[in-house]
Point group: C3
Chain length 320, copies 3
């Protein structure tokens, strides 16, 4: 079992809730220091040289897995990505046995994605003292590095976080991304968090999270500084939650016209991959207010920061 | 969009056509300088350290993908190979969104293989200015690094390129390899290029490329210095192009007997993987005139040269 | 063809039989010297820098493949793992052509797992002089690195090898692991080797190997110092060899109660992945006498030693 971490130091990263404001900003500041590394000619620092990072993905994800791999490589760690669909877990091995075996192979950092909420916490609860666990998405629960990179991206455009109105649009009900974003925005002290989308896709008790709920997108967007559109999981259609993607776009999609409701300098975000013409119009996704690709770039720097701090490396990015 | 490259410098490598003779020979000379690197004890130079190379393969290919990976590793780059069949393109992401995302992750070099002709050019046309695109095979259009390694192999055996007669045998109609080989051989100024195979597998307007066409293999082989056999795609059988592989071998396969038609020092080539007893007899493939495995070795050095020049590295292979 | 290796030096590692006692202990001693490397902050030495290791796995195996990859990475080699189910062997390429092509790519070390007995020996028989082949499991024949890591683990707990009684329990008939273990234990000179399990899973001529055979597990366990439980392949059930896993556990599974038959300091081993409640009770697998996870850790050091010695590297593990 892991001992309780020293207060104010990053140990595992399982969710945003409970991180503490100081640590949140330390993560963002460290990511800021890594951003130039990802942009120079030699995109590498020797911080995690000789460390072993394992990506254990029980759900497929090219993008998230690749940014974690890139982050680890750019910190000079050795990375192993396990596609669990083809691994010995199919031979009936338990999650705990998988963890114990990876630990026995001297793994230092486990990045885990799993369809069940709580899977990352399970690994963290049972991890050896020197092992760190990062949640790369667990069920509907949390996706903390996504929320961190979103907040990082917002802060780079609008350092006046306390003044901001942020709208999150779409399938909040099923979204671990939205859950973590709301927690991060609250912890960072933004002025107002709004959520907008079809009633069937909004959880009942959202207001208790300090969030304003709108089922009219136009109202949700009024004068906001940041718009976060969520990916619509196509499989929701089959569950009877929604009529059709065309209908969804017509009523809830972020169009140029709807965007005019927001503040003139509002930025538009999306965790990707985007469904063009479903949750967002192509003109908006590719438009001048879109920072969607910046989010991807920032994601590498943010994941480098999380990995470095979790493993206790001194964040002094000299050239490798 | 990419700006027009400086004349005479390698930018993207999409096809042989348009490369220019000077650049063609610069590529071969650079490959020559990398060949010793691949043969010494420490097979590594630090030229592309901290660069990110992405292999984006929309068609399966162990051999080509692996030689690109090896080339990148031996230049000390970080390499990521994406098996696109399992990636988010299945979630409906467009090619352009895939490109933009990889760029946002600070990719430097994209190696792309795709079943559609023009796919590599599409990526190149939309790539960010600092990104380079290498075509690892697009539809029936081109496979330029294969043609370069073939020419490199020929030149190592016969530096008197202007004196050579070269025969390309087999399924020229469907072969991006043949198309690029013909372009490379012409640019290099070989004396004579011949093509031989079943009429149904020879494109109609081949003569316009400056190529002599034979449907009698024996005639095509008379006194040639270089024989390039092409892989017969088994799926051609179903299209009614060919009766059977046995019949193909009987009429068009490169046997010891047919080989005697060529010059006594003729070399035998094949892009691999070979179908023994279909386009080539085992005795010939394994015989003393075969340079098929040299082609594989040279392929790594040639791909190192292409990567290094495309990324503007100074080709001075000191030990890593 | 490979020349005969110098006596007493590791060339290929295909099986334990024929290794010689001196080389066996040199391997164990070298592994001992690598063990601290896998446990320090920077888990890397530069011994195999610029070498190319290829894992060619014709059978799926997450655990074995990963420990070979880790071992190679920690020796600073470049590693390529080929999932052969998706490679050009499906296009009809022969094993020999696969080998020749990997050699042409300047591979230094081939780690091969294959469902057919003798596959590794085939590769070794045809490998180029500078290439080394390691058997990572071939059919029912051998799994020598597993046997080495088992012996290494035993020796760390009980250096008095000549005094030890060892029991191997389970499906010996189908187990390449058991075959190699028996050879290693004999070569190391342990006092007594016993084998226990259902008659249908014990090969007929076991006694000729210098092994005592028991179909009563309780008798096999009496006063032993080391217990090795084997994984029960679930597919054996269908072959009529066994009634059910529950029945197997009841009659042959290693329980706390049965464990009491052994010496009070006996250690319990398993090559993994374990089937809890089939060949071993969870309390025993997780109990204080279990060294199952140590085996996994030791496996990395042992494979580093095998790779380093096979490639003739001086085993002086300075920091990379």
């Amino acid at each position: 079992m892991s001992p309780a971490p020293a207060p104010g130091r990053l140990h595992h990263l399982l969710q945003i809730e409970g991180l503490g404001r100081e640590l949140l900003f330390q993560l963002l500041d460290t990511a800021e220091s890594f951003l130039p590394v990802t942009q120079r000619a030699v995109k590498k620092v020797p911080l995690l040289r000789g460390k072993t990072v394992v990506n254990l993905f029980f759900e497929p994800s090219t993008r998230t897995r690749m940014t974690f791999e890139l982050a680890a490589e750019r910190l000079s760690a050795d990375v192993f990505s396990l596609d669990v669909a083809h691994s010995s877990t199919k031979k009936g091995e338990t999650l705990l046995d998988t963890l114990r075996n990876l630990e026995a192979m001297q793994m230092d950092l486990l990045v885990v994605r799993h369809p069940l909420s709580g899977a990352a916490a399970f690994f963290a609860a049972h991890a050896a003292p020197h092992v760190r666990v990062l949640n790369a998405g667990d069920g509907r629960h949390a996706h903390p590095t996504q929320a961190l990179l979103d907040l990082f991206t917002i802060r780079r455009h609008r350092p006046d976080l306390g003044e901001l109105r942020v709208a999150i649009l779409g399938d909040v009900l099923h979204s671990r991304v939205a859950r973590s974003q709301i927690a991060a925005l609250r912890l960072a002290g933004v002025r107002e968090i709004r959520v907008g989308g079809p009633r069937t896709l909004l959880p009942p008790a959202l207001e208790s999270l300090g969030v304003q709920v709108f089922d009219c997108v136009e109202q949700a967007l009024a004068d906001v500084d940041v718009i976060i559109t969520l990916r619509l999981q196509q499989e929701r259609m089959q569950g009877g939650h929604l009529p059709s993607t065309a209908e969804y776009f017509r009523r809830f999609g972020l169009t140029e016209q709807r965007l005019r409701r927001a503040s003139p300098e509002a930025i538009v975000m999306h965790p990707g991959p985007i469904n063009r013409g479903v949750e967002i119009a192509s003109e908006v996704a590719d438009g001048e207010r879109s920072v969607i690709l910046e989010q991807v770039s920032n994601g590498v720097a943010v994941r480098m920061a999380v990995m470095a701090l979790a493993l206790g490396a001194e964040p002094a990015p000299a050239e490798a």
